[in-house]
């Protein structure tokens, strides 16, 4: 029996691994740039999935809209701050790790 | 019942992380590290207030503790470090200048 609620739960649970791998990436990747990859991408997808799941379970459309607003804001904040940090690192001559 | 036990686990993890953070923050040699730890400490405190069903306090902590004190500390850190490098500072120059100009003004008046 697939209801919206169950679908939401599925999405939420699917979101979790992204957070975990984001952290794993943060810990395992070799330099600041690659860690930025892990941070921005994995976490945003995880958050997106969780927001999708919660939206499926939400009571009204205003809540859904608010959830999406939150996601957009987090996307903006993380991609911008990621770019700023990377740029600042480039300007400070921090060389990327090469194999 | 299940949810209560999960909540207790949540509490324990949260509190022990908080304490660990605080310990590392206060014991670390690197002051910048301590400041970053303090920022994350603020974030986790907001979660703790949420858990204690105090959303008002959590809101204030999220904005102040996690959002504003971090920048406050960071810019204070910058201000302190800059002085070691003996950088030129507008405000100090101006202060000197204002003392000086007023002095000369006074002398002219006399």
């Amino acid at each position: 029996m697939i209801t919206l609620d169950n679908l939401g739960i599925l999405c939420i649970v699917m979101g979790l691994p992204f957070f975990l791998t984001g952290t794993v990436g943060l810990l395992r990747f070799p330099d600041i740039y690659t860690r930025l990859h892990a941070l921005t991408k994995a976490d945003n997808v995880g958050l997106g999935l969780i927001i999708l799941g919660l939206s499926l379970q939400a009571d009204n459309l205003f809540t859904v809209a608010k959830l999406i607003l939150i996601w957009i804001l987090v996307l903006i904040a993380s991609s911008a701050s990621c770019h700023l940090v990377a740029r600042s690192a480039m300007q400070k001559n921090i060389h990327p790790w090469v194999k | 019942m299940m949810s209560y036990s999960i909540l207790t686990v949540f509490d324990i993890v949260l509190i022990s992380t908080l304490l660990w953070l605080a310990w590392k923050m206060l014991r670390s040699e690197d002051i910048f590290k301590a400041v970053v730890l303090f920022i994350s400490f603020g974030l986790l405190m907001a979660l703790a207030w949420v858990r204690m069903r105090a959303p008002d306090v959590a809101l204030a902590e999220a904005a102040l503790g996690a959002g504003l004190t971090g920048p406050l500390f960071l810019s204070a850190l910058r201000r302190m470090e800059r002085l070691h490098k003996d950088e030129r500072r507008v405000d100090i120059d101006e202060e000197r200048k204002s003392d000086r100009t007023l002095d000369t003004k006074q002398k002219e008046a006399l």
Binding site: P17, F18, T21, G22, V24, G25, R28, F29, P30, D31, Y33, T34, L36, H37, A38, T40, K41, A42, N44, V45, G46, G48, N60, F62, A65, K66, L69, L75, I76, S79, A80, C82, H83, A86, R87, A89, M90, Q91, P96, W97, V98, K99 | -
Partner: protein, 176 residues
């Protein structure tokens, strides 16, 4: 430069349109925040007024003309790409020997200064395997996590879609 000229020619109507658009945008946000409470507009209107004022103070001119079709096609593209990027990172982080082979690529974009270019730079960071590390006038330095993936094609694809979104015509020769 072009933007400034346009501003001086259609200054009045442009400003009016700008205020109106921002007013609409902030009203929508306010509506989302408060839900359907009618009373909230007592504070809402002054708040929106302040926000519009501040936003005009911060960015006096912005020429927004998005194409509806562009938006409709861009959202699914973006969602698909960003979930792919998440999966990509997951795969690399979990593989036993770290599957990373980072490198830097410079890319010159034809997108005009302002919103399209900023949007472009920000979106690069959310695409699989790429991260915008610097922006000097129209040259974006892209850090990639793996030199073997087709970065060039990906970025070009993104650039074209953003061009459609903002109704920009690609200028030949500049993109390459």
């Amino acid at each position: 430069m072009q933007d400034n000229n346009r501003l001086s020619i259609h200054s009045h109507s442009h400003l009016g349109r700008c205020i109106f658009l921002r007013f609409l945008l902030f009203s929508a946000v306010w509506l989302v925040l408060t839900g359907s409470e009618a009373e909230s507009w007592i504070i809402g209107f002054p708040a929106i007024g302040c926000a519009v004022f501040l936003s005009l103070k911060l960015s006096p001119s912005s020429h927004v003309s998005l194409s509806f079709v562009g938006i409709c096609s861009f959202i699914p593209f973006f969602l698909r790409q960003s979930s792919l990027s998440g999966i990509d990172v997951m795969r690399r982080a979990l593989s036993r020997r770290l599957a990373v082979n980072p490198g830097l690529v410079s890319y010159t974009t034809f997108l005009p200064e302002g919103a399209p270019r900023i949007f472009f730079v920000n979106t690069i960071s959310l695409l699989p395997g790429t991260l915008s590390a610097d922006l000097q006038s129209n040259t974006v330095t892209v850090h990639t996590i793996d030199k073997n993936i087709p970065i060039w094609a990906n970025i070009q694809n993104l650039e074209l879609r953003i061009a459609i979104l903002w109704r920009v015509t690609p200028q030949k020769g500049k993109a390459l």
